[in-house]
Symmetry: C2
Amino acid sequence: MKILVTGGLGFIGSHTVVELQNEGFEVVIIDDLSNSSEDVLKGIQAITGKLPVFEKIDLREKSAIQDFFKKHSDVTGVIHFAASKAVGESVENPLLYYENNIGTLVYLLQQLQQKPEASFIFSSSCTVYGQAEKMPITEDAPVQTAMSPYGNTKQIGEEIITDTVKVTNICAILLRYFNPVGAHSSTEIGELPLGVPQNLVPFITQTGAGLRKELSVFGNDYSTPDGTAVRDYIHVVDIAKAHVIALQRLLNKKNLAKVETFNLGTGKGSSVLEVITSFEKVSNKKLPYKIMPRREGDVTEAYANTDKANNVLGWKAELSLDEAMASAWKWEQKIRNK
Amino acid sequence: MKILVTGGLGFIGSHTVVELQNEGFEVVIIDDLSNSSEDVLKGIQAITGKLPVFEKIDLREKSAIQDFFKKHSDVTGVIHFAASKAVGESVENPLLYYENNIGTLVYLLQQLQQKPEASFIFSSSCTVYGQAEKMPITEDAPVQTAMSPYGNTKQIGEEIITDTVKVTNICAILLRYFNPVGAHSSTEIGELPLGVPQNLVPFITQTGAGLRKELSVFGNDYSTPDGTAVRDYIHVVDIAKAHVIALQRLLNKKNLAKVETFNLGTGKGSSVLEVITSFEKVSNKKLPYKIMPRREGDVTEAYANTDKANNVLGWKAELSLDEAMASAWKWEQKIRNK
């Protein structure tokens, strides 16, 4: 069974390719290398013993997508990671985000809707909930007005898919990620942020490695136990495994709706200070940090109710925050010593 | 001053080109002729004495848009009509609508944001209000979850423009049309629906002309004075003039916000039966119709509060429903006798 993984050299994409190959799926990766490296292929091969097929394609080129589906006409399953993902950048350059994240999605679905049947998995985000009223957040919590063009592209993506599956042979699963962190236990693949990391954990590990002077903690006056913002940090390998299970669900078609939405989180919220403490424990290093004002657009807390993923998908996060932080730190040390 | 009018051979587009040329603007039309005819150019020339420049371009082709802006590098004002507009078709083929209505908008704005300054007028719709709670509808009424992919593309279009103007030199005006009807008094241009008309007035005039056996009136049990649905029918020439005034406002920059939204309506609601009565009066013909069940997605009533357009834009609809129906009927007879 041949599966297209777009953005398959990215952080979550590469970990998912590993799990797919471990489960016997044949994988074709599309990536434009705009925020990833071809070296990731070697890491995937080192873990799985198999080099996935790789096509360097810019998915904004409609004709390139058409050519791809002519060449790989047996692809009817797509896991679509390829997208721009920096909130701040999306505010500065919204059109880049609308083009990269919406245009490419439309082109991919246009190819799939021509097939007798097709399966589609979409990388959505807990940002669609905004500051949800109730914790933990269930999938039926209302979608809020997006706080950034990035968040808006995730909401619009969900809407486009929902409208499309109604009138086509495509079945889709929307996976709303909470905060993916960590790296593969082999230390062959992990997160490779370009420039200054936008996310907490790579910023912590780079600070631990001495690349950054100190970590900025944005806000310690939130209404949370220690005053810092609370998120649901989930190990990327758990996220990757959820994609394989979601794909199997789409292929088995048992009690399957045209479109289904699942939260991918641990169900447990952790504050910024708790993440720092976890890092300090697993690295045996003191992490320098300073308290800064809140950042505009940051919510107080967001963590997942995972009942639906547990019960319907039959998936559960297995790795702890300490395990995630230890793997992220091991990965950071490896790439610094290269 | 050279202005690009996309979809300039369509119904509202062609009437706007006439008013722009009457006011001395130099117009370049882009149209892909997918739902219009090149003959419209002759109609515009007959009215204004001037043939606008016409470029047959499919706006989904990014490179064609780039080439256009290289060739017409002095275009910094755009009135963007080009879009697919049939609600039912959008449900059947959502991806066509997301590609035609979102992709093209992004490509146009990408060109404009490279200019030192630029003006953009967007064709939005009263569908963004859904069934508004209060009549008449003001511009600050909440935007409701779209009831069709078509409606969603209008909402998303507004969001993309709003995100973009914040960080660029583009100023934009969003015009939310109520129900444009009628034709130019010269009978040189008017509505040219492809196939079975999706809108009430062309269906009425085609029935009057004997092309359709009878009109279907969808629902006579609404909570309105006569039980049929109420809309705000506005003469297309009034709509066209509003675009010229909006453009002048953008160019004058007096008390201008980065993005402004205006309702374009008459402020008066008319029921389906009132529109039929108006047609019968101006045509001196009896119109056969039958009552059918309500259509899914139709709202009970929608008519505009026009205070903001009156006061800020300095524009007011001047033509009556009878005048609109008379012009539409005159146009229908002319195209049938060709």
